[in-house]
């Protein structure tokens, strides 16, 4: 027992949760921003369908999302078999699988926050940049990207908090394996199944609350600071 009352095994659970969530958010960030930009700025047939597909994990029962992931990324699934053959990567029953499940569940929230902030970037500023000699890419990097930074930060934090809480898709796809996929929510669930597990459950629940609250407050602070008081998450 350490000062905080957490055992070494419990610290390992917290560390695993943080690693899974961080990797899920960092890997998803560029994809989420690209999708947000396309939906905010481009008009093309199938745009609504793409938007709906991104939002699907938000409304689907998480267990269904996990099952779909199993079909695609499982050892015999088309993507899973390919990943294993070509790169030797296995996702099921591994912490990387938990990160994938968390990423899919976090994606809609991240895209939403980023899209809203991209939409608030005045296109007139982009045309001004173009007349000053900027290529479309340079205008994107110097105008759209920095002005949508609050949305990127908000999206990343929301995605991180969502990943920390991911349960249904993770347990379905990556299972509940100690040291690999047993993140905070799964550990709490496991603790509830065991006689005399209430104390551990309480400690882990408090950690969850502190981490989630911390993430929200951090993002609020980052967003306000980067937007000079012009934007907020909460």
């Amino acid at each position: 027992m350490s000062l905080t009352g957490l055992s070494q095994a419990e610290w390992a659970i917290v560390a695993l949760s943080l690693r899974v969530s961080l990797v899920a958010v960092l890997v998803t960030l560029p994809l989420a921003y690209a999708l947000a930009w396309v939906i905010a700025r481009r008009r093309f047939p199938g745009r609504m369908l793409l938007d709906a597909a991104i939002h699907l994990p938000l409304v689907l029962p998480p267990v269904v999302t996990g099952w779909l992931l199993l079909l695609a990324f499982g050892r015999s699934g088309p993507v899973g078999a390919w990943l294993e053959q070509v790169f030797g990567i296995t996702l099921v029953f591994r912490w990387t699988g938990a990160a994938l499940a968390a990423a899919v569940m976090a994606l809609p929230l991240m895209v939403r926050a980023m899209r809203l902030s991209i939409e608030t970037v005045d296109r007139k500023l982009i045309s001004a940049a173009r007349t000053l000699g900027a290529s479309p890419w340079h205008a994107f990097v110097t105008v759209t990207l920095p002005l949508s930074l609050p949305g990127i930060l908000a999206g990343a934090t929301l995605g991180f908090a969502r990943s920390l809480g991911e349960f249904g898709a993770t347990i379905t796809f990556a299972a509940n394996i100690e040291g690999q996929t047993r993140t905070l929510p799964l550990a709490i669930y496991t603790g509830l199944q065991l006689p005399g597990g209430e104390e551990a459950v309480t400690r882990l629940a408090i950690i969850s609350i502190v981490l989630s609250l911390g993430a929200l407050l951090l993002s609020e602070w980052l967003v306000r600071r980067s937007a000079g008081g012009r934007a907020h998450v909460l």
């Binding site: 007139k124 045309s127 007349t131 000699g133 290529s135 340079h138």
Partner: protein
């Protein structure tokens, strides 16, 4: 020739047709609101595509539908001063001024930051954020940013709009100074003939939009 513009432009329901050539140092485009003046500036800057026509400005063919020429905005080198200025809110004045200067080729630059700062009297504003500037200051910085991008020609959209009489007069003197001291042709858009007559070597009238 400073400007040779012959174009047909779709503007919502109706069509704007304009044909003029001017070798004045400052040409004014005058017409009531809704006549499509800003649309013409956008077409010259490459932000809107005319249905057909030919645009030559500052000695360069920017658009020629018959010859298949249509330069991208970043290759037209238009010193476009928008009516709403469009300063970048996330960059201080100094960084706004530097934006186009950095993108311009060194051999094409024809004015330095020091000269622009002196001409426009904006030295005390360099460390400020655009959001803290007054209307007149915003417009002076926008002019400076356009000049530093090494433009072939200047496009000024309603430069005196929504300024009080004293500030408008100050800005008119400034435009006069640019006209007389810098070798850059200017196309200025205005809704009032009176405010441009003293400045312009040539005034082009645009017809009012069709009624109903």
């Amino acid at each position: 020739m400073s400007f040779e513009v012959a174009l047909s432009l779709a503007l919502g329901e109706h069509r704007v047709a304009l044909d003029f050539a001017s070798d004045a140092k400052l040409t004014a485009l005058v017409g009531p609101s809704g006549a499509g003046k800003t649309s013409v500036l956008n077409a010259i800057a490459g932000l809107a595509r005319p249905e057909r026509g030919r645009i030559v400005a500052g000695g360069a063919v920017l658009f020629d539908s018959a010859a298949g020429v249509d330069l991208a905005p970043e290759h037209r080198r238009a010193g476009y001063v928008f009516q709403d200025a469009r300063l970048f809110p996330h960059r201080r004045v100094a960084a706004n001024l530097a934006y186009g200067e950095r993108l311009a080729r060194p051999e094409e630059r024809w004015i330095t930051l020091a000269e622009v700062v002196e001409l426009l009297d904006i030295g005390h504003l360099l460390a400020r954020w655009p959001g803290t500037l007054s209307g007149g200051e915003v417009r002076r910085v926008a002019i400076g940013r356009a000049l530093l991008a090494a433009p072939r020609f200047l496009l000024l959209d309603e430069p005196f709009a929504s300024l009080d009489a004293a500030r408008a007069e100050g800005l008119a003197l400034l435009v006069e100074r640019i006209r007389d001291n810098l070798a850059v042709p200017i196309l200025l858009v205005s809704h009032g003939r009176a405010e441009v007559e003293r400045l312009a070597g040539r005034v082009v009238d645009m017809a009012p939009p069709p009624q109903g």
